[in-house]
Symmetry: C2
């Protein structure tokens, strides 16, 4: 009987160790690897929420393109409740070519083929201090249409942050165009 | 015993009648009433799929506004498979004011406050021949920001169809700007 109790306790102990190990190894986000490698989410167009668009029609402007922004539905709910982006929130911004024509409704513009995607992942715990694509509360990534599997940003301060400076007070995000809020 | 069998048969008969009655009374769409009254869906911004945007920035143009279009996720899947809008497909088009400013990325436009919603409901069975908001394979509706519960269109041929004529060959819908396809 004593032996049996010992076995049960041992099994319980092993079980607890196993569960806690599994918990610490649970990934922070399905779109982020162990070392902070950011991946482009695949199904955001059909199953995520659309936040809004920005249109910069001038081909010579640095931000030329039709920018459509998406996030997870749970991020919308959390933001509507707290006014802040929750840990793990992902913003996907498509940059597409701007197409336009004179139509019966007036001169209209719409989004054409994709150029690049910008992805931001909210990190409230400074998880990847050694990764130069993480900082200021976010992970930052840039994917080109030629290879959507590869984040070509090597340093967010150099490749991403510049354009976001005017939105610093709203956690680096241009929330003004997000009509869902 | 004979009596018992008779009772069972009667109950089965009543059950079948009840089920078939319930089936015929099942509404065509959660957004359409018995006589074809179209309602504005409520949760499309967070749980539906975004199809694309049209921007007509000229305030004097007949189609002035930032047009964002949404549909049910299952409509996207069906369209991707068949190239056609399935029975019951709903398109919600928001028309918002166009806001714009010079930004670090260039002169940008984005969507401001809502003006109106256009709603189209695909009907492949000509269900409401007496309702003047139904025809050409669709139910047509227009809601104003001042009262989102009231369809102010009284005759789709007068209130809606005019602007859709150039898109007649694509089932009256401007699919060119729908980047999800």
């Amino acid at each position: 009987m004593r032996y049996k109790t010992g076995t049960i306790l041992l099994l319980l102990f092993v079980g607890v160790i196993f569960i806690s190990t599994a918990k610490t190894q649970e990934p922070f986000s399905p779109y982020v690897g162990d070392k902070g490698e950011i991946q482009l989410p695949k199904d955001y167009r059909t199953s995520w929420s659309y936040l809004g668009s920005w249109v910069v029609p001038d081909k010579n402007a640095p931000g030329y393109g039709f920018h459509d922004v998406f996030t997870q539905p749970e991020t919308v709910k959390a933001y509507q409740k707290t006014g802040e982006f929750p840990d793990g929130a992902v913003l996907v911004k498509e940059i597409r070519k701007v197409e336009s024509a004179d139509m019966t409704t007036g001169h209209a513009s719409w989004a054409g083929p994709i150029d690049v995607w910008f992805v931001m992942v909210k990190d409230r715990k400074d998880r990847f201090p050694k990764n130069t694509n993480w900082g200021d509360g976010w992970g930052w990534a840039l994917f080109k249409a030629s290879d959507p599997t590869k984040n070509v940003s090597t340093d967010y301060k150099k490749d991403c942050l510049g354009c976001h400076v005017p939105a610093k007070n709203t956690d680096w995000v241009y929330i003004k165009g997000y009509t869902v809020k």
